[in-house]
């Protein structure tokens, strides 16, 4: 993994670690392009607070903002998130296999008392 990818991963994870930001992303996953005021509507926080969250998401490369006339629309960019998901998937596969082997190893030779008790 090259350094720039590592940075992207850090930023993605940081951006995703907030529930409001995840909710914003989930909304953008459902609709291709949503205006900022429309995005902010379901949240019990101020518009500037939502703008700040959108800044974080944009810095992490998770969304783009586009001005059309007087409205600003946001769009989702899925690629950095796919890298984060790939990191977790890779390690999930690796550790599950490792822990299968660990389990088999430590369970292989139980003290004789256990066997006697089973019978």
């Amino acid at each position: 993994m090259v350094k720039s990818q590592t940075l992207v991963l850090d930023r993605t994870f940081a951006a995703l670690s907030d529930p409001t930001r995840r909710a914003l992303l989930a909304r953008l996953d459902e609709e291709d392009s949503v205006s900022i005021s429309e995005l902010a509507r379901p949240f019990p926080v101020s518009l500037p607070a939502i703008m700040k969250h959108l800044d974080v998401l944009e810095d992490a490369g998770l969304i783009t903002r586009e001005k059309t006339g007087r409205t600003v629309n946001c769009q989702l960019i899925a690629q950095p998130m796919q890298e984060a998901v790939a990191w977790l998937n890779r390690y999930e596969r690796f550790w599950n296999k490792q822990l299968d082997r660990l389990t088999a190893f430590v369970e292989r030779d139980q003290p004789p008392t256990k066997k006697a008790r089973k019978k």
Binding site: D10, F13, R22, D29, M81, Q82, F105, E107
Partner: protein, 144 residues
């Protein structure tokens, strides 16, 4: 603030002592380390806080991999925390592995966690249970 992390819980029919040895004693590590039946080529573990471990193994496809890290916290038979890195991939970000062992009847409840480090950039957020939403994200964006 929670960074995304991987948690695996298992109930294992062996004592915490035996599991702790399996994680930390090179002769034991040789017996199981690696994701397939390929051999462990080298295992060393300097079991003290700040001490290093490294394990090199060959997989059945012939590929060799080496991982290692530094012990951060050691409570014999209960808790082990170490940093983790693929030594064969110098650019990979260092991460943190936690192994918790709790006696459970005649066996052990093992909780394994592999996580990214917390950093200052992420301190301004809220406490978030990441893994639940992660499933949703995974469904939304698709696993490779």
């Amino acid at each position: 603030m929670t960074k995304p992390s991987l948690t695996i819980r298992r109930r294992i029919k062996a004592s915490p002592e035996k599991l702790f040895r399996a994680w930390t004693d090179p002769a034991n590590i040789r017996q199981w380390w690696g994701p397939d039946d390929g051999p462990v080529l080298h295992a060393e573990a300097d079991l003290r806080v700040g001490g290093a471990f490294r394990v090199k193994f060959r997989m059945l496809d012939g590929d060799e991999h080496e991982c290692g890290g530094t012990y951060r916290e050691i409570v014999p038979n209960e808790k082990l925390i170490f940093t983790w890195q693929w030594l064969s991939d110098a650019d990979e970000v260092e991460t943190l592995v936690t192994v918790l062992l709790q006696p459970d009847g005649d066996g052990t409840a093992m909780t394994f966690t592999h996580a990214q480090f917390q950093d200052e950039k992420t301190r301004d957020g809220h406490q978030a249970g990441w893994s639940g939403s992660f499933d949703k994200l995974e469904r939304a964006f698709g696993a490779p």
